[in-house]
Amino acid sequence: MKAKNQRLILALLALAAVIGAGLLAVSGLKQEAAFFYAPGDVAENGLPLGKAVRLGGMVADKSIRHDPDGVTIHFVVEDGKAKVPVTFKGIAPDLFKEKSGVVAEGEFHPDGTFVANNLLAKHDERYMPPELAGKMHKTDTLKP
């Protein structure tokens, strides 16, 4: 075999090994690397109690309620598998809307509600002008 071909095979083997090792490490990190819990994860694996976590999903339609104090809001986060009621006190980002994505930072209470101290808006991968959006029915749920 020519030396050049030998080097090529060595390089390709090394590349495959490195990428394989990297992907293996990454798949092992699956849970740790997740930025937030989805309601479905919580229903499946139990409440992560006693630690600060993030909860992400869609804000359920017609679920936002404002308390008379003007700063506390209640809403429901869903991912198509489960629903979690959330309480938040503070200023929500502009993009925080019903049927839109949200990531709430806070803590679960033993009764299953989530108390958030910060809200991040999460939009999906669709971009369109306002006129078009008005005509469309948004039926997709946020991918977990």
Binding site: V18, A21, F35, H123, E125, A133, G134
Partner: protein, 238 residues
């Protein structure tokens, strides 16, 4: 493979190609940016901030494409000992790092009005930051050697090993729950409506040509400097 190995032959093509890449690239960037800032409608949800898309996406593509180029050049250097491979890899590093940084900065600026945060340690953002540090490491390693026309074998191997991060960046939003949204443009099509999407074509092509022009200029600079240094060494020896 070795048809362009001769630097003289490479320069014969690179000299006219450099201004073409730069002029056409800058024109396309300006056209695309104008269209993206003034002609396209705002997004139904994000409003005007969606206009950052037209520079954020090309920057992300060039940051990742740059490292892919370094990895390919490194393989070509190690396997075929092509004399220009090291020059090319070295020339890609600085613009690659620049566009990775632009991607991170524009993403951060975009995140504030839309997500409500400048920075979060989400899978996409973290892996992109790792790419920037890989570029810094590569630039440091490449500059450690005096030979401007190649990179050391260790540097080339680092270029190949670092490529493992590229598929991780690309898939991070699919594998993990992330704040960053999923991919909009896939093989199956685009979830960006055409009225918003179209200026992305001129900016992506324009920034890519501009990137190519910068790489050509940096290759030419290194080849010329190496020529001068070789002459100086011969004069000193004589």
């Amino acid at each position: 493979m070795h048809a362009y190995a001769n630097p003289a032959r490479f320069l014969k093509i690179a000299r006219p190609l450099t201004p073409i890449c730069l002029v056409v690239g800058i024109l396309l960037i300006l056209i695309g940016s104008y269209a993206g800032l003034a002609l396209t409608p705002p997004d139904y949800l994000q409003g005007d901030s969606v206009r950052i898309l037209y520079i954020h996406v090309p920057a992300a593509w060039l940051g990742m494409g740059g490292w892919t180029g370094i990895a390919i050049a490194s393989i070509v250097q190690l396997v075929w000992r092509h004399p220009l491979a090291g020059v090319a890899a070295r020339a890609i590093a600085v613009p690659g790092a620049l566009f990775t940084a632009i991607c991170l900065v524009t993403g951060s600026i975009w995140g504030r009005p839309t997500w409500g945060t400048w920075w979060e340690w989400d899978g996409r953002m973290t892996s992109m930051l790792v790419l920037l540090f890989l570029y810094f490491g590569y630039i440091g390693l490449a500059n450690a050697s005096d030979d401007r026309t190649s990179v050391s074998r260790a540097t080339a191997i680092f270029g190949i090993v670092g490529a493992v991060n590229i598929p991780i960046i690309n898939r991070s939003v699919v594998w993990w729950n992330s704040l960053h949204q999923g991919p909009s443009i896939t093989l199956r099509g685009s979830t960006i409506s055409s009225e918003i999407l179209w200026p992305l074509a001129p900016t992506v092509i324009g920034f890519s040509l501009f990137f190519g022009g910068i790489v050509l200029m940096r290759m030419r600079a290194n080849l010329a400097q190496a020529k001068v240094e070789a002459r100086m060494r011969r004069l000193a020896a004589a």
